[in-house]
């Protein structure tokens, strides 16, 4: 199916009442999650994961994708109004967004953000539509050895560029891989590391892991540093219209943000966060008004907010085309697909075209819904910011408990939630990255599957994993990225050449 035909087919799938409702609910719930502190997109999506199991795979994934880009938009609302980012991709928006709010431009900034999110998301969908099938065609050349290189190498790469030092990424990744081996083994059915607990034969529950790591630890941080909540200013509908000058200055950052966001979304790592930071740096370098950035310039909001939505959208490409999640949210989506019996990857376009094209087309519709609904609904989101901590934190904790229990009707998962929250809190305090642990748990079974298939098909010849051109290319990239920091140090020591650090200090 050609890209245009595919999109038209996808629009047909997405324009059913069920899927439109799923996109609407996802976009609104995502915005809510982004607005509320204490609940990021990863934990929020994990909590609705059990709900998505009861929907058909297309509707479930449309809802999850809607939540992801909805959360990107919602996170920026708090960044602009009360100088508190709802999630990490909106951190950079605080700088100029809040300064513009103090100048009385809050409504206009929120409109620029909403339109930017739509432009970034919408144009990125067109990129996904063209790029995903091409990548899926390339994926058809992959055998178990190449998929092993892609999953294992991709996980290593993701862990390294998630932020912080080498150990900050690979230590949690290794723990995640270890957790992925708990439960009944796929081929022989042997129980591994279950300690005789019946519930553990199905493995470590992903919802408990993600809600514990992201939701509960975030709530623990909020409770720990409980401060008087900032009161957002009221924004009236008539204040939502940007001036001509603000529009004129936003178009170029929209374009640059879309391009940079789309490219970064295709790569492993916290793409939305990296895209917003990269876009801000780009604006500082090329914008006509670069000297105003940091003092309340519209470019400092338009560029990053467009970039993070574009990245959130294009991060679906590796997931849909190759079946490889390069982030914790896409890892959850992969888990949801596997529960529904949909195997993402090169064959998905032919085996499940409704899911593949339906999800892509729904992103276009969902982004349009966001812009249509969120501008008039801004008053609702602002009023939510006035809900005190002692009301929404107990509610979130109750919903987290229900969500965690409902997956397998098991109290063991709920107890695990508590244990994982403590581990996550300690790891976060020590500045370890949590996303590699989640991706490790999801990719672990796939890496094992490709490893065993590769050994079986090559009659035990280990060289199969590093001799094909594709595997060599993948492993070369992984090795180069892993050696970046040692090489940087070596150059500085031997030749006195100082190269700027390429890997961010932290992304979470």
């Amino acid at each position: 199916m050609e890209a245009i035909d595919g999109l038209l087919y996808g629009l047909g799938v997405a324009f059913t009442w069920n899927n439109l409702l799923a996109a609407l609910v996802g976009a609104l719930a995502g915005t809510l999650i982004g607005v509320l502190p204490g609940l990021g997109p990863t934990a929020g999506i994990a909590m609705i994961l059990p709900l998505s199991y009861s929907l058909d795979p297309t509707s479930g994934l449309i809802m999850m994708a809607g939540m992801y880009y909805g959360a990107m938009y919602g996170g920026s609302t708090t960044a602009v109004l009360i100088n508190m980012p709802g999630e990490s991709a909106s951190v950079i928006t605080c700088i100029d967004g809040y300064k513009l709010t103090k100048k009385g431009r809050a409504g206009a900034v929120l409109t620029i953000v909403a339109i930017g999110s739509f432009v970034g998301g919408g144009l990125s969908v067109l990129g996904v539509m063209l790029f995903a099938p091409a990548l899926a065609n390339l994926g058809l050349l992959f055998g178990p050895a190449e998929f092993f290189a892609l999953t294992a190498g991709g996980l290593l790469l993701f862990s390294r560029i998630s932020g912080g030092t080498l150990a900050a990424g690979i230590f949690p990744m290794a723990v995640g891989l270890m957790l992925s081996t708990v439960g009944q083994e796929m081929v022989t059915g042997a129980d591994r590391f279950t300690f005789g607990v019946q519930e553990l034969t199905l493995g470590v529950e992903l919802v408990a892991l993600v809600v514990g790591l992201y939701g509960l630890t975030e709530i623990m941080s909020v409770v720990e540093s409980l401060q008087k909540q900032g009161k957002p200013i009221s924004v009236k509908l008539k204040e939502m219209f940007p001036s001509r000058d603000e529009w004129r200055r936003s178009w170029a950052p929209y374009g640059r943000g879309t391009a940079i966001g789309f490219v970064l979304g295709l790569l492993p790592g916290p793409s939305a966060t990296m895209a917003s930071f990269a876009s801000y740096r780009l604006e500082k370098g090329v914008s006509k008004y670069k000297e105003q950035l940091g003092e309340g310039a519209i470019e400092g909001v338009a560029g990053p907010e467009t970039a993070n939505n574009a990245a959130a959208t294009s991060s679906m490409v590796p997931l849909l085309a190759l079946g490889i999640p390069f982030g914790s949210v896409t890892a959850l989506m992969l888990a949801a697909m596997m529960v529904h019996g949909v195997q993402p990857g090169p064959m998905m376009m032919t085996s499940h075209p409704d899911v593949f094209w339906g999800v892509i087309a729904s992103m276009l519709i969902g982004n349009a819904m966001l812009v249509i609904l969120n501008i008039p609904l801004i008053g609702v989101w602002v009023s939510l910011l006035r809900v005190p901590n002692h009301v929404f934190l107990p509610l979130i904790l109750m919903v987290a408990t229900v969500g965690c229990y409902s997956v397998r009707n098991s109290m063991v998962d709920v107890y695990m939630l508590w244990v994982i929250a403590l581990i996550g809190y300690a790891l976060r305090k020590l500045e370890f990255q949590l996303a590699p642990m989640v991706v490790g748990v999801v990719l672990g079974p796939l890496i094992e599957k490709h490893l065993r298939e590769g050994l079986f098909m090559s009659l035990g010849d280990v060289s199969v994993f590093y001799t094909s051109p594709i595997a060599i290319a993948i492993w070369s990239v992984v090795i180069i990225v892993l050696l970046l920091d040692p090489l940087r140090a070596l150059f500085a020591k031997l030749f006195g050449i100082k190269v700027k650090k390429l890997i961010p200090e932290s992304s979470e």
């Binding site: 005190p388 002692h390 035990g460």
Partner: protein, 160 residues
């Protein structure tokens, strides 16, 4: 502000990781390894044990290497620490109470205690808010979405 050096934390994590990888490896060796062309259930965990060991060593090494100029990480202290510990304890009691007292009753008690911890409201108002919030969650998840949350042994005892 009470702090901990990041290098001490990394070294601690490295030591825990090494012990964990040793225990994990010990259990892995009891699993069938199979043949090289037909790997058994123990092969992948064996690799994972190796990866965990290497990752733990790297954490230990990074902690040791940067110990002289390691950044300090803030730890909660005073009333902040007490509040955090109370939240952790409340969550534990809540989760342990659910199978016994049922989801709804446990939730009311948990919410009331948590609201009291996070606000300066009187106990009566905390209880009222807790009741209303639990009722909302009950209606949405148990009555409408039919999530079979535990009703509790205590309730079962009363019913019988």
């Amino acid at each position: 502000m009470q702090t901990i050096s990041r290098s001490a934390g990394y070294m601690g994590a490295g030591i825990v990781g090494i012990l964990l990888s040793a225990g994990y490896l010990h259990m892995t060796l009891d699993l069938p390894m199979g043949e090289i062309d037909q790997p058994g259930a123990g092969v992948f965990p064996l690799l994972v044990a190796g990866v965990l060991f290497v990752a733990s060593i790297s954490s230990l090494w990074e902690g040791w290497h940067h110990r002289a100029h390691s950044p300090k990480l803030d730890l909660p202290e005073g009333s902040d620490r007490v509040r955090l510990l109370k939240l952790i304890a409340l969550l534990l009691v809540y989760f342990l109470l659910i199978p016994w007292a049922g989801f709804s009753l446990s939730s009311i008690l948990f919410c009331a205690a948590l609201i009291r911890l996070l606000s300066e409201l009187t106990w009566w108002r905390c209880a009222l808010y807790a009741f209303l919030m639990t009722a909302a969650i009950h209606i949405i998840f148990i009555s409408i979405l039919k999530v079979p949350m535990p009703s509790g042994e205590l309730i079962a005892l009363f019913r019988s």
